[in-house]
Every structure is written in C-alpha cells, then in structure tokens.
Point group: C2
Chain length 219, copies 2
DNA sequence: AAATAAATTTAGACAAGACTAAAAATGTAT
DNA sequence: ATACATTTTTAGTCTTGTCTAAATTTATTT
C-alpha cells in the first residue's frame, strides 16, 4: 500500500501532532527522523498528492483522515510486535524498538489479526503505550507522572514516557516494572527527588526519573 | 547489510544454481523473479562489485562464498518464519510464502536465534524443505519422489516439490500431509497413476501428484 | 562459412528518496 | 518600518532499482 518511507513519515507526523496541534513543521519532522528539511518538503508534496496529509507551504502539515488511519495501523503493528518480542521471544523491553521498526512495515492483515490473537488481544505495549484497535481507536487509561503525585499517593506503574534503553535499564536495575505497586513516601523540595516504595522496597529517585514514569493512581 | 532487492537476487541465484551448476543465465534469473534481463545484468554488476557473485559477461553467474552464505541466511530466515506462521499463528501451509517473503528481510540476528529457540530448532519447514543452520549448512534427508517408488514400497511423506497453493490444497483435501505414512498399492502403466494407502485410507493419484510428493522410504 | 535466430548487454530514461547550496518567506529586534 | 536571523522551499545532483529499445555477442541453421 505505502512504502516504508511513507509509513515512517505518517507515523512521525501522527506523534508530533499531539505536540503541534495546528500544524507540524518540516523541521520538527526532519529532527525527529534524522533527515533534512528539504527531504521532508519533498515527501510532504507526495503525501499531499495522495491525500494523506494537508500541506500548505510554510505552514506545516496535518494528517488527513486517510493518513491518520494509516498511521494508527502502523503504530498498531509496531506495538503488537513489541508485545510479541517481549512475551514470546523473551526480548527485554529496551531491545524491542529497533526490530519493531522493521516489523511494523510487514504487510498482511491476516498476520496482524493472528498475532493479536496469539498475544490475547493486548491493549498496551511493553512500555505501557496504548495499542489501537483495527479501526484506529486507542484505548484510554488514566495515568499521571510520578512527579505530579503528592505524598502518600498510591498507584500502579503503567508506563514510561522516556523509552530510551538507559532509562529502561535503570528501572530494571532498581526493581521498577510495569504492574508493580508504588507509593510516594517523601518529596524533597530542593531537588524534587522522591522517596518511594515499590512493592515492598524503598527507593530514592530523582526528579528526572519521576517525571518519566506513569502511574495509575488507585485512590 | 544488503537491500531487499539484493537479497532476493542472491536467494534466486542460490536456488537456480542447483539446476544450472555451471552458471546461471540472466534470463533464468529474470524469468524466476518476474523482471527483465537488462535489470538482472545491472544487478549482477553491482553484486559482482561487492564480491557476492562471479559474473562474466555472456557467461552467466555463480555465487561467491560470501554470496552463498548470505543466501543461506535469507533462506534460513524465510523457512523459520514459515514454521512460525504455521506452528504458532495457525496459518495453513499454502498461505505462508508471501508473508515469509517479507519477513525474511528483517535484520536481527538475535530475533532469528530466539525464533529458532521458540520453534524448538526445527530442521525442516512446513513444506519439508531443509532449514540451514547459522553456518549455512543444510540438513540432509533421504527422500524420493512418490512417482519413483515401486509397488509395495512404504514410507513417510516428508516434502513437496511443487509448493503452489492449488497443489497444497489438493493434498489437504485428500488427507495427505507431511508425517503421514504412505504405501504404493498399484501403478498404472498407461498414465502412471497410482493407487496408494495414506495411513488407513486408499486413494488414487495421478502422475502429476506422484511426481511432486517426496517420500522417505522406511525399508 | 555465411546467414539467421536467440540470448545478453548497453544506452538512455524514469521514479523514489535523499542531500547540498541557494533563494524565498517568515519572524524578531531595533 | 527596516534590517537581521531563522525557517522553509526550490533547484540541481546522486544512488538504487527498474524499464524499453537498440546494439552486440553467442548459438544454430543452411
Ligand atoms: Mn517502539
Ligand atoms: Mn513501545
Ligand atoms: Mn516459501
Ligand atoms: Mn517453504
């Protein structure tokens, strides 16, 4: 249907649209995709010709419905493959992204349906990110950054904002994983570090850590 | 490492080398890949520059060691993915080829190792074709075409020569599957059709069928 | 051995995607 | 409002992979 390159552009625009609701700049896309703005301009013209994006010179780009549906399908594939890699092949959550970047471009509706079934229709990927259904709708889940919780709050770890390998490995090393219970014990005014309890372990985490971990509060 | 296109050429040459031991013609490659001989010539020059094939103008092409190893790796991936699709995702053996054609180009040593492990290190794919190991060595198994067996011979179905969907569906419909026992009951001189026993069912098959089914004889 | 047929390569063109350098548009500071 | 800086687009080039048509080489006949 679409080339790998086109799919990567669509996906990137989809993600950047949250941040830049009234039009994504070619530079923003170029930065994200490690390419040049001139290359982006070329591609925007092509995607526009195919009615996948609304592109007005000098005014950035937004996805058309057709483009948004295509983007959601790619994200669905990416995240389902990530679940597969972690659940079935014992990859760790910091290793799956690169491979999923390739697998997301495999074209086969039936393959994805069967993969979805094998994985028991997961709603979230290994990083806690929502997996859209076949219609492109994303499941929603209340979540808040650990850094925004007040002392005493309890919850469950449900996602990460930063998905870099170094952050994920830090979490592994310190026994923080999705699904584990968490409680804020203390907050330090000076550097915004926190003392937290993960399951039954007490741990001190910096502001940088706390602002990249999503929690679903339990009350 | 190599582009999808380069990999497809290498794989095709590998397969055609059995048939044309002393050099595969550009036309043979073009026919197989549904492309034009002139495109093949272009690619042969590129592959030759990369020391993947030996190419002499007008004299056909053979794989270099480097090219043969690369080809085996691609075939390994293709066949492992086919096993995965059938064993884990319940694809039928006539549906897997197209998808495997795409999956074989995914680049990740670790992915294939882990897939191999998940599948319990299979030696043969759903069509009975051998899966090379990491070093590029293919397991061997004695097999002979059903059409070459004499009356009374017994064996096990171990592979198919024709992997077309129509042939595989015919086998499904008539209860012929890899692993099942088979015995030749009668052979008709006139049209070379045979009466065979599959497990406990008796069946009449044409020469065309018999010459596309591989049997491992049991005595 | 020359003539003809078939296979193969070359020449020239095209599309997708990407890059660099230059031009044009937009935004900001005086 | 004008000058300067930044962003974005355009123009021109390159690589990969493909094609058609023409030229060349090899194979087959007479
Ligand atoms: Mn990812
Ligand atoms: Mn993810
Ligand atoms: Mn196959
Ligand atoms: Mn196969």
């Amino acid at each position: 249907m679409f080339s790998d390159s086109e799919e990567n552009y669509l996906k990137t625009i989809f993600h950047l649209e949250r941040q830049f609701k009234d039009g994504v700049s070619t530079n923003a896309i170029a930065d994200q995709m490690q390419t040049k703005a001139s290359s982006v301009t070329d591609m925007m013209k092509r995607l526009s010709d195919k009615n996948l994006v609304n592109y007005v010179k000098y005014q950035g780009v937004t996805l058309c419905d057709k483009g948004r549906i295509a983007a959601a399908a790619i994200i669905r594939k990416h995240r389902l493959w990530e679940v597969f890699l972690v659940e079935k092949l014992d990859f760790s959550w910091d290793e799956v992204h690169e491979v999923a970047e390739q697998l997301e471009h495999i074209e086969s509706e039936e393959l994805i349906d069967k993969l979805d079934k094998l994985l028991n229709y997961p709603k979230f990927d290994p990083h806690g990110d929502p997996i859209p259904n076949k219609d492109g709708n994303f499941p929603v889940r209340d979540k808040v950054l650990l850094s925004d919780l007040s002392i005493g709050s309890k919850g469950i770890c449900v996602g990460v904002k930063d998905t870099s390998s170094s952050f994920l490995k830090y979490l592994d090393k310190n026994g923080i994983a999705l699904g584990k219970s968490i409680q804020v014990l203390e907050k330090e005014d000076f550097d915004h570090s926190q003392k937290i309890k993960i399951e039954n372990e007490v741990l001190q985490v910096s502001q940088q850590i706390a602002s990249n971990l999503y929690i679903k509060t339990t009350h």
